[in-house]
Amino acid sequence: MSSVKKVVEMRGITKRFPGIVANDNITLSVKQGEIHALLGENGAGKSTLMNILFGLYQPDEGEILINEKAVKITSPNVANELGIGMVHQHFMLVETFTVTENIVLGNEPKNGLQIDIQSAEKAVEKLSNQYGLKVDPRAKIQDISVGMQQRVEILKTLYRGADILIFDEPTAVLTPQEIHELIEIMHNLVKEGKTIILITHKLKEIMAVCNACTIIRRGKVIDSVLIKDTNPDELAAKMVGREVSFHVDKIAAKPKETILAVENVTAMGNRGVNALNNLSLEVRAGEILGIAGVDGNGQSELIEVLTGLRKATSGRVLLNGKEITNESPRSISESGLSHIPEDRHKRGLVLDFTMSENMVLETYFHPTFNKNGFLDYGAIDKHAAKLIEEFDVRTPSIYTPARALSGGNQQKAIIAREVDKNPDLLIAAQPTRGLDVGAIEFIHRRLIEQRDNGKAVLLLSLELDEIINVSDRIAVIYEGSIVGIVDAKATSEQELGLMMSGGKRMPGGGNDE
């Protein structure tokens, strides 16, 4: 084995931020042609380590060797020159530019004063074919799918001559089919001599594509293992520091009366065409209804209509038999609906507010906190302290700005706030997006607890595993309508996948034209 070249070696990397040691004497060694997973909980220090490798941070201690030569990576430009490329989780693409224009951006081949777009297109096409990416170099970014956009990101790094590719949570935004294709692409890349570092929480993917895995917990390396010698349970235990159960334990649902009834709702999307077409569904007390679907089929618009952020052009929404169609967000919230938003930074939290202030975002005007127009910050702090303790939100203090918390803890705080309102209906939109197994387990348990307390839960997620494991019934959304409702225990990933792509309709889909 020692004959294989080590392309990346990070030795004794330590990086301190005020108050915390993000990386504590971390050693990482990646061999040529390997897919190496970097596994760890949120806030474990994976991103910090990769940002050091990509030149965005400087380590306080330690050294980095690329291709067995000591280097100082002082900026992403230096990283590029050393052949390191990063495929970011959030794509950095110009929507109105073509694929080629995006790829050459900042590195344009020139023909005099003009950009030589023809030869650039050829170069992109050649790269795309070489690695089996199947990207059309002339397509505009806004017209291609998220999966394709990701491939453009990959091409961008390849075009710049990267030999070492860092993938940051690459599957978070993909459909199951796209994930399969991405895994294929990764294999192709490795076959062509590239080396991949994969940052992820998803054990299933690590088992499927990686050769080796380095596990980081609280800034320290816990272990470095070969995938062939390990199993998901062991990896999870190492990452979290205790045994984790993947199986979502739950008793059979006991559905009672209808809490939420959506009747033939149609609503306009942002692009001026209908995003919801005559959509109907029901959620009953004591059950979790999961909504499965490929991103962009009306999920976000459905939530917005239900929470009062978007107007329905026709149809009705009933909560507990009371019509709430197109009511204001506050009146809907006060009627007994809570919502864990899809985008916690945009909708869920005021990041520069303290945790304490964030915990009363929807209830600050209640008499408990509001005394004649003055807020009782004593009561607000006490409330926050109680919730933070109860939901195990790890924050240095209740006066810490929400921004300073890790994603998992931010999400726990939102869930604490929403569940504490004791809602009849809890809408959870992608509640575990970007979270690690420990936090996911916690959140799933809370959702099921709500259900067992006789509340209705509507779960929207792009993760099929999550939908299948947590829901009691699953409704599949496709192009703004429900195309089928199935029993979670009786369905399969294949069946759902087929319905999600519009290939199959089932009874219960409210749109029988």
């Binding site: 929807e362 127009g373 807020l375």
Partner: protein, 357 residues
């Protein structure tokens, strides 16, 4: 003692102080380049401001409107709005105060407060025009509030000409004595420097600023909307109403400032050929003060001293007034460019880290 050192080596304190020092140094270089003696000039500035009771009193007069306009800009900024219209709000405050001051005959304990309140309401409404246009039509408040400054200026001249200026003159009738807010005994103590209750109102306004934003339900909403309108909307707050409200309160501060200039300093309103400038200086004051009420008061004091002391530099050291503007601009530049200042501050902070534990 350690606590005191801790306060003075805190970054939030150190950065503006170092910025001011760097600004003064840059100003000194500019003066040297112009062939003036900076030490002599700065001495003259200090001499001017603190040298006589009259000048010291007049410096306070100079500081007062800057606190008001600084608060007007800072308040809007706290709620995510850029209020460039403090100038216009200041002017309509003047108009309202003059109108009430000249037109009514009331006992002093009603007349003066009424005139101040009229200024507050006028400034507030003027500010809410920009707020309303933003909320209802999505028009950028920077554009509208700038344009409203000019509307206010010419509106003021028209109102004065049409109603309050006797034929052939350039200024309105005097306001009634009952509406004046001059503090006669204090004025006498300071050799007739024009001191007035407005200074106290300015300090109270800064306290009001703090209380409303950090203690009340409205303030919670205003801050939430300013920091994250999406989350606020989702949490059921009315984002548009808060925009109008923020601009009203901001405008109110500037309006009171304008009113106090009439009621406390001039006692009449003259035809203006240009903007009084307090509103624009208010932007700088808010920026230097970090948009906090205490910061605004301190920044207004600095700004007032520099502006008023400029006259001293001119007479004492022959430095043209334009150069003091270079100093002020350098201070603003260094405050705005945190990054540059932090390079200078870093060694101090590092020493502290090593020395402390």
């Amino acid at each position: 003692m350690n606590k005191v050192i801790a306060v003075f080596t805190k970054e939030s304190f150190l950065v503006p102080v170092v910025a001011i020092i760097l600004g003064l140094l840059t100003g000194a270089i500019a003066m040297l380049a112009g062939g003036f003696n900076p030490i002599q000039a700065y001495m003259a500035l200090i001499e001017k401001v603190f040298g006589s009771a009259y000048n010291f009193g007049e410096t306070i007069r100079q500081i007062t409107p800057l606190i008001f306009t600084g608060l007007a800009v800072a308040f809007a900024f706290r709620t995510g709005l850029f209020n460039i219209g403090a100038e216009g709000q200041f002017i309509v405050g003047m108009i309202a105060a003059t109108t009430v001051g000249v037109s009514f005959d009331l006992p002093a304990y009603i007349h003066a407060p009424l005139a101040v309140i009229a200024g507050a309401v006028a400034g507030g409404l003027w500010g809410s025009i920009a707020g309303y246009l933003k909320a209802a039509r999505g028009v950028n408040e920077v554009i509208t509030s700038i344009m409203l400054n000019w509307v206010a200026l010419y509106l003021a001249n028209w109102v004065m000409n049409a109603f309050f200026i006797p034929t052939g003159q350039q200024r309105s009738e005097m306001i009634k004595e009952s509406s004046m807010i001059t503090i006669t005994w204090l004025s006498q103590m300071f050799d007739s420097a024009r001191l007035h209750w407005g200074t106290l109102i300015a300090v109270l306004a800064a306290i009001f600023f703090y209380v409303i934003l950090w203690k009340t339900k409205s303030g919670y909403e205003l801050r939430a909307v300013g920091l994250n309108p999406h989350a606020s909307e989702y949490a059921g707050m009315n984002v548009n109403r808060n925009v109008v409200k923020a601009m009203f309160i901001g405008g109110m501060f500037a309006g009171i400032g304008g009113a106090c200039e009439i009621l406390g300093v001039f006692h009449y309103q003259a035809i203006m050929t240009a903007q009084p400038g307090y509103g624009f200086d208010g932007i700088a004051v808010a920026l230097i003060g970090g948009n906090t009420p205490l910061g605004v008061v301190l920044a207004a004091i600095l700004f007032g001293i520099l502006t008023f002391g400029a006259a001293g530099m001119k007479f004492g050291a022959g430095v043209p007034v334009e150069l003091i503007r270079v100093v002020i601009a350098s201070v603003i530049f260094f405050v705005a460019a945190h990054g540059i200042v932090k390079i200078f501050v870093k060694p101090i902070l590092q020493k502290k880290k090593e020395g402390g534990h």
